[in-house]
């Protein structure tokens, strides 16, 4: 089982390996290519935007572009939400820097890709900035995040920032059809439509859904299968839980919550994070309502950190949603 074995998850199998293979993102690719021409001038990079839009792909493609086949030897991949704190980040970078000082051809630095860097706290980011400064002779950082506003100013000013936007529907459909063709699977138009709708501009979601749907029925992906597949995905479950609460059906909402906790093994704070994420995506809730609900979530998220029981806090949260939903209903009626 070697590194060259073909990846079996389609998100990996069909991930562009270098910058030329990347479709769309033309402007970003051109700018980056300019930097590549004279690597010594390449600054730290910050890739920011909603999930599933190509940031990690670009970062990996850059590594490939710089170091060729053995890019893994000169690249450190870290995920801020997996690491326990800035100290482990620092340690891992230190160890890595020590190793990579032995030279890497024309490129005078090693690459450190730090994903989900907006998950780091303020103090952690301050420490990161120092690490970036100390190591800037021998390493370049590529910071990946969803919200650049969460990155502190001193770091932002040291990076070239590239913004990624949602993959548009047409482009996504083309991607999916391309993959389907290569996998010898018939992707029906309504099914493609459903996947695009569900993924809301997140190509990774879309490809995972496609692959799972293809596993259900030999050779054909139809709308029915897609609905079945995405119905079981946790984002959908979380949205269902939120909606039921807002519609006032507390018991059903809580039942869904128990299913999510039981089926996926999510902890209380993981679910709260998902609630925030999914709430943000839901188009049938106005921005003002999202802000209100977000405040409620914040309150219970805080209480969770105070060492409370997650299912009590989550239940209480859903109950507040139920009350909020009723208030909205009454306001509508009043109008």
């Amino acid at each position: 089982m070697g590194i060259n074995e073909e990846p079996l998850m389609w998100v990996e199998k069909y991930r562009p390996k270098n910058l030329d293979e990347v479709i769309g993102l033309h402007d970003i690719v051109e700018s980056l290519k300019a930097f590549m021409r004279n690597p010594k001038t390449m600054p730290h990079l910050m890739l920011t935007g909603v999930p599933g839009t190509g940031k990690t792909t670009i970062a990996l493609a850059i590594a490939h572009e710089l170091y060729g086949k053995n890019w893994r030897n000169f690249t450190l991949e870290l995920n801020a939400s997996d690491e326990r704190g800035i100290d482990t980040v620092r340690d891992r970078i230190k160890d890595f820097s020590r190793y990579s000082r032995s030279g890497f051809g024309d490129i005078p630095f090693a690459l450190i890709i730090l994903d989900e860097s907006d998950q780091m706290t303020g103090p952690a980011q301050t420490a990161l900035r120092r690490i970036m400064e100390i190591g800037s002779r021998t390493s370049r950082f590529i910071l990946i995040c969803n919200q650049s506003s969460k990155i502190i100013e001193p770091i932002q000013s040291r990076c070239a920032i590239f913004r990624f936007s949602r993959v548009d529907r047409q482009a996504m459909k083309e991607h999916l059809q391309e993959i389907a063709k290569k996998e010898k699977v018939e992707l029906q138009p309504e099914a493609a439509e459903r996947i695009v709708e569900y993924s809301e501009g997140d190509l990774r979601h879309a490809i995972n859904a496609l692959q799972t749907a293809a596993a259900y029925k030999e050779g054909v992906v139809d709308e029915k299968t897609v609905s079945l597949v995405i119905g079981e995905a946790s984002p959908i479950q979380v949205q269902k839980m939120i909606r039921k609460a807002l519609y006032g059906d507390f018991m059903e909402s809580r039942k869904t919550m128990y299913e999510i906790m039981g089926s996926y093994g999510f902890s209380g704070s993981e679910i709260i994070r998902q609630i925030q994420r999914e709430l943000f995506k839901m188009s049938d809730i106005t921005p003002e309502q999202k802000a209100d609900l977000s405040n409620i979530i914040g309150e219970y998220d805080y209480r969770l950190t105070q060492g409370a029981n997650s299912d009590i806090q989550l239940s209480a949260l859903l109950a507040q949603f139920a009350k909020y939903g009723k208030d909205i209903e009454e306001n509508y009626a009043a109008k």
Binding site: N208, F266, N309, S315, A316
Partner: protein
């Protein structure tokens, strides 16, 4: 429970003293005391286990003899100031005119329920204030308590006549349940009523509640139906506490209950949280109650293993959750917290295995473990369901244990 028209404990609340089952002697003594204008003791203390008829007697007799009961519940506010505010008017002639006094009413009695709820510092001088009121009072003072052996109440014993209530005997409880069955047109096996009565331990209120929550229209109540009472018997005080908690008529009552119960707080609050929507079907009330439970939960977290002095905030918040709307109470059967089942399933080892799986996915697909868990695992699981030995398992390098785990992941 199908019968939702009204609460039976309300419907069958005794209107005359003869309606009260058991404690004949106590009833006689009480009436004797009330009628005797020249009794040496101005106050009476009715004491005994809950649900045996103390409060019922006070109200029934007042109803019969046309007294107006001015009630003050324990611990609502127990400071001397508060007591004086309420009770003083009842103890002076001129103020008596301010109370509803029709031609028919003979006068007022002051009723202090749950006097054993007087707690330490919060009730500064509570006991002394009560004694003063008794001394100054021109109307009879009636007190009720569940547990009068508490030191704080010793001074009270000097100024009141003590009347003891016993647990209502099982045959009497059965007889009462029989009468209710006839009136409510319920067919019940004798053994079922027997079981309910035995389980109630002489608490008539809870026996009636149990009967109501177990009985259904067009259904013969059998001993099988009462099995659920059995499983609760294992932890009687938890069940009594829960029942008392949910049916509490005031913050004070709930707070009292929590203080004197021996239940495990953590299990209790989890069970409360799980059963809360059964108690409050109105979302407004539910969200209010849940917020209190949530606060109580936070306080419990702060108590940890050493800060026991913070426990009173835990009680306070929980008690508030109980009393959001006492009027909306209807008896219901408790559900076992599903969260217990879930926690049992998600043991530390299972979480570790899942963590390892997510780690492997994260590395291979360049995502965080979080995303791996929420975005990849469910899909991989689905693919596995379709094809048990899917090649992706080998690609991810999952161990046999990890593959097994994925296969066994259930839908709850």
């Amino acid at each position: 429970m199908q019968r939702n028209e009204s609460l039976w404990v309300e419907k069958y609340r005794p209107k005359k003293k003869e309606d009260i089952m058991g404690n004949e002697e106590a009833k006689e003594l009480f009436v004797e005391w009330l009628k005797n204008k020249r009794h040496t003791k101005k106050a009476v203390l009715l004491y005994g286990p809950p649900g045996v008829g103390k409060t019922a007697l006070v109200n029934a007799v007042a109803n019969e003899f046309n007294y107006n009961v001015i009630e003050m519940n324990a611990s609502d506010t127990r400071s001397e100031k508060a007591i004086n505010l309420l009770a003083k008017p009842a103890t002076s002639y001129t103020a008596l005119d301010n109370f509803t006094k029709t031609k028919e009413t003979k006068g007022n009695v002051l009723f202090l329920d749950e006097v054993d709820g007087i707690a330490g510092n919060e009730d500064r001088g509570g006991v002394n204030a009560i004694i003063k009121i008794v001394e100054k009072s021109l109307v009879p003072v009636i007190m009720a308590a569940n547990n009068p052996e508490i030191d704080k109440l010793r001074p009270l014993k000097k100024v009141c006549l003590l009347i003891r209530f016993q647990q209502v005997r099982i045959p009497l409880v059965i007889a009462l349940l029989q009468k209710i069955c006839i009136t409510e047109n319920i067919k019940a096996e004798f053994e079922a009523l027997e079981r309910i009565a035995q389980n109630s331990r002489g608490d008539v209120r809870s026996a009636i509640n149990d009967l109501q929550s177990l009985s259904e229209e067009n259904h013969i109540l059998t001993i099988q139906d009462t099995i659920i009472l059995n499983s609760r018997n294992k932890d009687i005080s938890m069940d009594d506490t829960l029942r008392g908690f949910f049916s509490a008529q005031s913050i004070a009552e709930a707070s009292n209950l929590l203080r004197y119960s021996n239940v495990d707080y953590d299990e209790f609050i989890l069970t409360v949280s799980d059963n809360l929507p059964k108690r409050y079907s109105n979302n407004e009330e539910l969200s209010c109650a849940y917020d209190y439970v949530s606060q109580a939960d936070v306080f419990r977290g702060r108590v940890g293993f050493e800060n026991w002095h913070l426990l009173k905030y835990f009680y306070n918040s929980l008690a508030q959750a109980a009393a959001v709307n006492p009027n909306s109470y209807k008896p219901f059967t408790f559900i076992t917290p599903p969260i217990k089942i879930i926690t049992l399933f998600w043991t530390k080892s299972k979480r570790t295995i899942l963590g390892n799986i997510c780690n492997k996915i994260g590395v291979k697909c360049h995502v965080s473990q979080d995303k791996a868990k929420s975005e990849f695992v469910p899909f991989i699981k689905s693919m596995l369901d379709k094809k048990k030995a899917h090649p992706i398992l080998a690609w991810f390098n999952f161990t046999a244990e990890e593959v097994n785990f994925l296969n066994e992941m259930k839908r709850f």
